[in-house]
């Protein structure tokens, strides 16, 4: 038995695959892991990473910027406006975006820059975590 994962953005299905375990972070209360046979679940996702552990020990890391996760009958669906698979993230761009956001935050408090910084950090986190996992 495996979990079937689908990461869906409004424009297309970003990623699908099978996994043993999926870890996500909801807005309410921290991280939550899904295994097979998990009770039906709907949660709102925080800006963070979704980690997908495959059967063969591989790990896929997906950066999501808000969204929802639905689990039912061993299917995990991640609905997210913006989601990126770690291997597709341009780390240089994320770093420079983080820097830019930090600079604009230093001069003034700004909701947009704050969100941009959080997004950039998640990207960097996802990308570096995936590199250190040997991918």
């Amino acid at each position: 038995m495996t979990l079937h994962i689908e990461v869906v953005s409004p424009e297309r299905i970003l990623w699908t695959g099978d996994a043993d375990r999926v870890i996500a972070r909801t807005t309410g209360g921290g991280e939550i892991a899904f295994l097979t046979g998990h009770t039906p679940f709907v949660g709102a996702l925080d800006i963070g990473t979704v980690r997908v552990h495959g059967e063969d020990g591989t790990e896929e890391i997906i950066a999501v910027h808000g969204g929802f996760v639905e689990v039912s009958k061993d299917r995990v669906t991640v609905l997210s406006d913006v989601a990126e698979v770690a291997s597709m993230i341009d780390i240089e761009r994320a770093r420079s975006a983080a820097e830019r956001a930090e600079n604009s935050l230093r001069s003034e408090q700004n909701v947009q820059a704050d969100a941009a910084l959080r997004r950039a950090r998640v990207r960097i986190e996802a990308s570096t975590a995936s590199v250190s996992a040997g991918r």
Binding site: V8, G28, F41, V42, A44, L79
Partner: protein, 322 residues
């Protein structure tokens, strides 16, 4: 002058021919873009299906009641219309059908004594309504060919904001549904408040499978989810519209190409006749000229005149009979 007519016709044929080349090219481009637009429509479907599914589950868990986007207003005095048309023309009736549907509906509501407001998407709809002195609350242009989710979000946010602020009591959306490349239908749908039948029908249909866990509470998730749902619906409308636009354009350009072809055949026939007429007239002039020459110099055996006569009578006369 006969030769003049021929020259004018030749020029016209040339211009029709170059128009035909343009319309043919536009037809082929539109045809290739229908497919791409259609793929985008299909690619966007899983998301809206899933989000509807989640809303249904939330409703089954008893969330709902509180959200402003779902609550129908007691008294509907102001209705807003979102007209989704294209940025470009040369697409047959694509823009006009949407515009006309909206205009007719607005007139109907006005006759009932209600206020109407207008939000336009696409240059054509915006231009039309602005020119006729309609007041447009928001106009969005420049993305009708390839709408992105970001574009849909802009439009949806503007609508949701005004709806939540109480400026509108209901919002209708008018777009062209893409059924196949041969059939597109203009749809006028209630956009806001979001249909509640979706929620009402849910508990009965879902039954015991509705024992979901929620984090945070169902109500909170629904509040976050509904704006996304509105965006997804608007996005779907934009995508359907763009696919319909290309289908309409392809059809319009195909008939333009066909018409051009027909016109070219017709004009070439007229031109050929004009040319023949010119030749015939010229021959007649020569013959009658020679005839007159012979009549004037009867008796004298002029070699030159004889030769001219032979040519005039034997050669061309067979041509004339034909």
């Amino acid at each position: 002058m006969a030769g003049g007519a021929e020259r004018i016709l030749r020029r016209r044929i040339k211009s029709v021919q170059s128009t035909k080349k343009i319309t043919k090219a536009m037809e082929l481009i539109a045809a290739s873009r229908i497919l791409k637009a259609q793929q985008r429509v299909n690619a966007a479907r899983p998301y809206s299906e899933q989000i509807t599914e989640v809303i249904r589950n939330l409703a089954a868990a008893g969330a709902g009641g509180g959200s402003a986007l779902l609550q129908p207003r007691d008294e509907i005095s102001t209705v807003a219309f979102v007209a989704v048309a294209g940025d470009r023309g040369l697409c047959g009736g694509y823009n006009t059908t949407v515009i006309r549907t909206v205009e007719r509906e607005m007139a109907r509501l006005k006759a009932e004594g209600r206020q109407t407001r207008l939000i336009t998407v696409g240059k054509k709809a915006t231009g039309y309504f602005r020119f006729r002195g309609f007041e447009i609350d928001d106009a969005f242009v420049g993305f009708s060919d390839e709408p992105t989710y970001e574009d849909a979000r802009l439009v949806a946010d503007a609508v949701v904001q005004r709806f939540e602020a109480g400026e509108y009591d209901a919002v209708e959306i008018c777009y062209t549904q893409f059924i196949s490349s041969g059939v597109q239908r203009v749809q006028l749908e209630r956009f806001m408040p979001l249909e509640t039948d979706l929620l009402d029908a849910a508990p009965k249909a879902e039954g015991p499978t509705a024992d979901y866990e929620f984090e945070p509470s169902p109500g909170e998730i629904l509040d976050r989810l509904l704006p996304r749902y509105a965006e997804a619906r608007l996005y779907a409308a934009l995508l359907e519209g763009s696919a319909s636009f290309f289908a309409a354009q392809q059809r319009a350009m195909k008939s333009a190409t066909d018409n051009a072809e027909e016109l070219i055949t017709k004009l070439s026939r007229i031109m050929n006749r004009a040319r023949q007429d010119a030749i015939t007239t010229e021959i007649m002039e020569i013959v009658s000229g020679a005839e007159a020459l012979r009549g004037g110099q009867s008796g004298s055996s002029d070699l030159l005149a004889d030769n001219a006569l032979d040519v005039a009578i034997i050669g061309p006369s067979s041509l004339i009979r034909n």
